[in-house]
């Protein structure tokens, strides 16, 4: 089947951005974390909002319903009533001695005031206790390095040890290139932890948020007992551009979106942001939580 050539297939990404790994989202998905500034433009319909107003709508565009990307802190504030963070105080060691990696990390740390691209802790969601890990697409594109892998693994192990359900909000551009093979091995490490947790009877809910791609999709994002996604979320293994180069075709609109994955049978439910808390607490209740 032939698709009309679309101009956005060739749009260049801004130079200042950390490039995606194995994936390059089209502009529609390139929603930004809600900025500090006064105004924000919806990447889908172009509507301009006061940032303050956008915060009251949980980062959802009131004109077109686009779910803009959220920072991990903001996400946690929306979802939880109580959150007790695990302060891991961990740092990367630049395992490959990759030139410039420490500097890059330091600048992301300073900008975000976070140690890394995932925040973990014990949460209460409408009186339901669980272990919660929230990835941040804004921290080096949500790429998975040793610290992200270690923090998630520790969270899974904690869930197993304390017999608590586990929720992971996934958001990732893929691998942390600067850590090479160490990044790849995090997929194995986390998968082993999740399998052990699962065998012990633990409940794991995977929540896919924009974008969930690459190695995260090929591991814990798809290993949930239940997999829910926010509307419009980009979910895929390979990036759009890589696929288009491989098959020499322009991909259809909506390809690799949450709705597409629901249709193909890879997602349990699509849950709008304003129903996420209720949905998660409902699932937790149905799996032995406080009713």
């Amino acid at each position: 089947m032939l698709f009309k050539k679309r101009t956005y297939a060739t749009i260049q990404l801004p130079k200042t951005k950390e490039p995606f790994v194995q994936t390059e989202a089209d502009p529609i998905s390139r929603g930004e974390v809600i900025p500090e500034g006064d105004f924000h433009k919806c990447p889908n319909c172009g509507e301009i909002f006061y940032a303050e107003i956008l915060k009251t709508t949980e980062g959802v565009c009131q004109k077109c319903g686009q779910h803009l990307r959220l920072g991990a802190r903001e996400r946690i504030a929306q979802i939880t009533d109580v959150f007790d963070e695990f302060h891991m105080r961990m740092e990367e060691t630049n395992p490959l001695d990759f030139p410039g990696y420490e500097k890059k990390l330091a600048s992301y740390r300073e900008r975000s005031q976070e140690e890394e691209g995932v925040i973990t802790g014990v949460a209460e969601i409408a009186e339901q206790r669980c272990i919660l890990a929230v990835m941040d697409a804004g921290f080096m594109m949500g790429s998975m390095g040793s610290v992200v892998g270690e923090k998630i693994t520790l969270a899974v192990e904690r869930a197993k040890a304390e017999d608590l359900p586990l929720i992971i909000f996934c958001a990732s551009g893929g691998a942390r290139m600067q850590e090479g093979i160490y990044s790849l091995m995090q997929m194995a490490k986390i998968s082993l932890a999740i399998e052990a947790f699962s065998k012990a009877g633990g409940l794991y809910i995977s929540v896919l948020t924009d974008p969930t791609t690459g190695g995260v999709t090929a591991s814990f994002a798809m290993q949930g007992d239940l997999i829910v996604a926010e509307p419009g979320t980009l979910i895929g293994f390979a990036g759009r551009r890589v696929i288009e180069q491989t098959i020499r075709q322009i991909l259809p609109e909506g390809f690799q979106r949450a709705e597409f994955l629901l249709e193909k049978g890879f997602v349990d439910r699509i849950v709008p942001r304003n129903e996420m808390k209720e949905t998660l607490s409902g699932i937790l209740r149905l799996h032995g939580g406080i009713r």
Binding site: P19, V21, Q22, F86, H87, M88, R89, M90, E91, E92, T93, P95, L96, P99, S146, V147, E150, T153, A175, M177, G180, I181, Y182, L184, M185, Q186, M187, A188, K189, S191, L192, A193, I194, E195, A196, S198, K199, T217, A218, S219, F220, A221, M222, Q223, I235, G236, F237, A238, G239, V242, I243, T246, I247, Q249, L251, F255, Q256, K264, G265, F266
Partner: protein, 313 residues
């Protein structure tokens, strides 16, 4: 030094052409051969040399390993869900006196076969065929041998529609819980998640000139430096050789290769690993299941370098 070697190799080629034309330059040829040999000892191959070797069309592929290593191999097809992926050969056969389940990512020999095998790039049904045969191996208490040789999982429209990410994720889950020993040998290219999906194993071995990486050097260069022609440079900083991975503790054994590694020299390599495969599998099979799983867990648990700051809670 690299330049000097390249110059010598070029000169050697020219001289050999002259020799073939009937002009006697054998003395000059011998002189350069000796010089080259000395240089090779002093300066081992760099990562890019190994990338080239790992991808060499003459390099033995999985089906040739199986033919040489396995007696009475019986191939079993299909994932029982969608189809049969020609990029994955699966089946059962004898290695020594032990029946193994063997899974090989197959690049194929010759253009026609290589196209049919999709150059060793699996679709989701390839991973699902592997999963099915792994679970079967577990049921019948057979050890598993995986041969990894893939540029990566296939990046196609159908592959995404049928859940490439989910397929790999499930392979990781299944391997995490397998109650029989699994040995993986990376025989050529170990490309990304497509390789990892057959490598959550009790032992991972690599052939001397194989590579194992997060992404191809070309892809890496194009993403980080926006220039895929810098692949050679990328291959050095990525640390993808068997020797690198052994030094990281991610690979348990590096298998020596002959100077010219091809179907002709493969049997000598097979003879050097046959016993090792059987004995390694037997050693893991002797462990109680719980100990086997714990060992595998701890092996991968240790991977990833982080430093903890003062005052960790």
């Amino acid at each position: 030094m690299k330049e000097k070697m390249k110059r010598l190799e070029r000169e050697l080629k020219r001289l050999e052409a002259l020799q073939a034309d009937g002009i006697d330059v054998s003395e000059a040829i011998d002189k350069r051969k000796l010089e080259l040999k000395a240089l090779k000892v002093d300066f081992p191959m760099d990562a890019w040399d190994r990338v080239i070797k790992a991808r060499d069309a003459k390099r033995p592929v999985a089906s040739q390993y199986i033919e040489s290593l396995v007696e009475g191999f019986m191939e079993f097809h299909g994932d029982r869900r969608f189809g049969d992926d020609p990029a994955l050969i699966g089946g059962v056969g004898w290695i020594g006196d032990t029946a193994f389940t063997i899974l090989g990512q197959e690049k194929g020999v010759g253009t026609k076969e290589r196209v049919k095998r999709n150059f060793g790039m699996l679709n989701p049904e390839g991973y699902r065929k592997a999963q099915r045969l792994m679970k079967q191996a577990e049921k019948f208490q057979r050890p598993i041998l995986c041969l990894v040789d893939t540029p990566g999982a296939f990046c196609g429209l159908g592959a995404e529609e049928r859940g490439q990410g989910q397929a790999i994720a499930e392979s990781l889950t299944i391997m995490a819980g397998l109650e029989v020993p699994v040995i993986t040998i990376v025989i050529g290219e170990g490309g990304s998640g497509g390789a990892l999906a057959m490598s959550v194993s009790d032992e991972v071995w690599m052939m001397e000139n194989s590579i194992y990486s997060i992404l191809s050097p070309e892809g890496f260069a194009s993403i980080l430096w926006k220039d895929s022609s810098k692949a050679q440079e990328a291959s050095e900083v990525m640390k993808i050789t068997a020797q690198d991975l052994e030094s990281f503790g991610m690979v348990d054994r590096v298998v020596k290769e002959p100077e010219e590694f091809s179907i002709e020299t493969l049997p000598s390599v097979i003879e050097s690993i046959r016993e090792m495969i059987v004995e390694t599998a037997a050693a893991y099979q002797a462990l109680p299941v719980e100990a086997l799983l714990k060992k595998r867990y701890e092996k991968f648990r240790a991977m990833g370098k982080v430093s903890e700051k003062e005052g960790m809670e």
